[in-house]
């Protein structure tokens, strides 16, 4: 069994991140520089330290551009860290690339299948790159095509495959050499609900066979359903880490009420804070406030009467139950979906 470890990973791009790092959306700022026209620097990772024990399903949750794909890129030899270190088991990813590549399987965020080959050939050639015998390759390819429900299209060129089929085949390919650690970058993006469930089932099954899995997602439901532990990352930093249950419990009260007023006042916010069960109230702008509490619906009439008494119009109340989304909002003031 093989785990994953990183220490203080940093990555700064001076040009848009190329293919290994996935999509953009990073924070831009100008670095203090002596030259007159400093290159814009993009800080993708700002000190990521993780310790993922063998056999865990670990999730990196965060919005686009948070640094998830860059972290996966570094752990899979495709991105060179500016500083810091990463290990797969006992092996330094940068210094022992070949050994590390034997241990890992990688599903990239965007499909990267060989368009000149059929589904079966893709699996068979992948197996050959990893030195599997011809008999073994054929056997495993058949089993995986069957497991991923691709047998009926096995001998067609993948050029004509739908997005969901390509994604399934990408995952099958990553499992072909039976890696100890599986990286899945946004595995269920663009999948229909049925395929997503199949995928979750396969991921759990693979994990039960003793494999470590690191997946990235910006889907809270997926993180909640699959991951034993999660790191929530934003702007290249880990902002929260723990089991989904711990993380949800760490939001003050758990319930979040997003309120919109005509215009609120400090007095009104003070009165809201005094309501029973309310843990925190933050103004988000001149009209909005986020209220964290350990109860939800029963607060709404009380808030409405406070607003009425203070002659403030209450326009909108959005109530959400304890969730990872609330946690993200609590830490960053932004929604994961923004």
């Amino acid at each position: 069994m093989v785990g994953i470890r990183t220490r203080d990973l940093r990555k700064v791009y001076t040009s848009p991140p190329p293919l290994a790092a996935g999509v953009g959306g990073f924070t831009f700022f100008r670095a203090p520089s002596k030259s007159k026209q400093p290159k814009p620097e993009i800080v993708a990772l700002d000190g990521i330290s993780l310790e993922i024990p063998p056999g865990e399903i670990f999730g990196l949750l965060g919005p686009n551009g948070a640094g998830k794909s860059t972290t996966v890129g570094i752990l899979t030899t495709r991105v060179r860290p500016a500083s810091g270190q990463a290990w797969i088991g006992e092996h330094d990813v940068w210094k022992e690339q070949t050994t590390v590549k034997r241990l890992i399987g990688v599903v990239a965020q965007r499909p990267n299948l060989d368009f000149s080959l059929t589904a079966r050939e893709i699996l068979v050639f992948h197996g050959a790159y990893f030195g599997l015998s011809s008999v073994e390759r054929t056997k495993r390819a058949y089993a995986l095509l069957d497991r991923f429900k691709l047998l009926d299209r096995a001998d067609q060129l993948v050029r004509g495959f739908s997005g969901g089929m390509m994604q399934r085949l990408s995952i099958a390919r990553a499992m072909m050499h039976d890696p100890r650690v599986l990286f899945l970058d946004e595995p269920s993006a663009g999948l229909d609900p049925q395929t997503r469930l199949l995928l979750w089932e396969i991921i759990r099954e693979y994990n039960h066979s003793g494999k470590t899995i690191l997946l990235t997602t910006h889907n809270m439901e997926e993180a909640d359903a699959l991951c034993q532990r999660l790191a929530i990352i934003d702007h290249g930093r880990v902002i929260a880490l723990g089991t989904p249950r711990e993380l949800k419990a760490s939001v003050p009260g758990g319930y979040l009420l997003r309120l919109r007023f005509g215009q609120h006042s400090p007095e009104l916010l003070e009165r809201l804070r005094a309501l029973g069960g309310v843990r925190e109230v933050h103004a988000t702008d001149a009209n909005g406030a986020d209220l964290y509490a350990d109860r939800g619906g029963s607060l709404v009439p009380e808030i409405a009467s406070l607003a009425l008494a203070g002659r403030v119009d209450l326009y909108d109340v959005h109530l959400s139950e304890p969730s990872l989304e609330n946690l993200f909002l609590h830490h960053t003031g932004r929604s994961l979906r923004e």
């Binding site: 030899t77 990267n112 299948l113 000149s116 050939e121 992948h126 990893f130």
Partner: protein, 256 residues
């Protein structure tokens, strides 16, 4: 190096080449053979060109076919695989140093270029005969020159394929490949540039000059050609240069 992975990748390229055999064949031979037909058959047959031109033309056409094939076979897949289909990622994750992934592409391209070069000779000979006077007086020297030409074309493909953006593929052919062919002493011997002293020196920066002059020197030595020593030196130098540039660019593309 991981021999199994390397051979498996060569196997994959061979498999795809077999699958695309007819398009590759047309792409490699149609243009050179039309050229051979018009200039070697029509122009000579109608008296606009001396009969000896047939023999002079053949090594140049062979060089064009090899270089075109090598560049195309290496550069085009690399451009597509790095920027569009991204399918190279699977090979970059194979358990061997990523430089070998680039070397494998060069080996595959070299083999394709060699095959193209060797197939042009009988094809052109069939089109042009009679009157083609080929003399393979030093087969080993010819084999060496042909191998270096094929390697140079594949290494050039690597350097170009890892440097050119996919939106600039057309420009690559207009600005790099086409001038290289026209100023590459393919349709005329280098000595024909005597009346253009500046041009004659400038074209020495074009690696294709050494390729066509080298093939001319080994296939039709009756025509004036660069000394074989200069040909060897030029080809070895350009091979080293293009391979090192290509590998550096490949690493830049592969690892961010």
């Amino acid at each position: 190096m991981n021999r199994k992975a390397f051979l498996a990748m060569l196997g994959r390229d061979a498999h795809v080449a077999r699958r695309n055999f007819v398009p590759i064949l047309l792409q490699t031979f149609l243009q050179p053979l039309m050229f051979v037909f018009i200039f070697g058959r029509v122009m000579v047959g109608s008296g606009y060109m001396p009969p000896a031109y047939k023999s002079l033309l053949l090594p140049g056409i062979m060089a064009i076919s090899m270089v075109g094939t090598g560049i195309w076979a290496v550069a085009m897949p690399l451009i597509a695989e790095f920027q569009w289909t991204r399918e190279i990622e699977d090979r970059l994750l194979a358990p061997m140093d990523i430089s070998w992934v680039a070397v494998e592409k060069v080996v595959a391209g070299t083999l394709q270029a060699l095959a193209a070069g060797l197939m042009v000779i009988p094809a052109a000979w069939l089109l042009l005969r009679p009157g083609v006077e080929l003399s393979l007086h030093a087969p080993l020297v010819f084999a060496g020159v042909a191998a270096l030409v094929a390697l140079f074309s594949a290494a050039g493909g690597l350097a170009l394929g890892c440097s050119v953006d996919q939106t600039h593929v057309g420009l690559m052919f207009t600005l790099v490949v086409a001038p290289m062919i026209f100023f590459g002493c393919t349709y005329y011997p280098w000595s024909a540039l005597e009346n253009f002293p500046f041009l004659q020196k400038a074209v020495l920066l074009n690696p294709l000059v050494y390729a066509s002059e080298g093939l001319r020197g080994t296939l039709v030595p009756q025509f004036p050609h660069l000394s074989l020593l200069a040909v060897w030196a030029g080809l070895v130098l350009f091979n080293a240069l293009l391979l090192s540039v290509g590998l550096r660019q490949f690493h830049k593309k592969a690892v961010s």
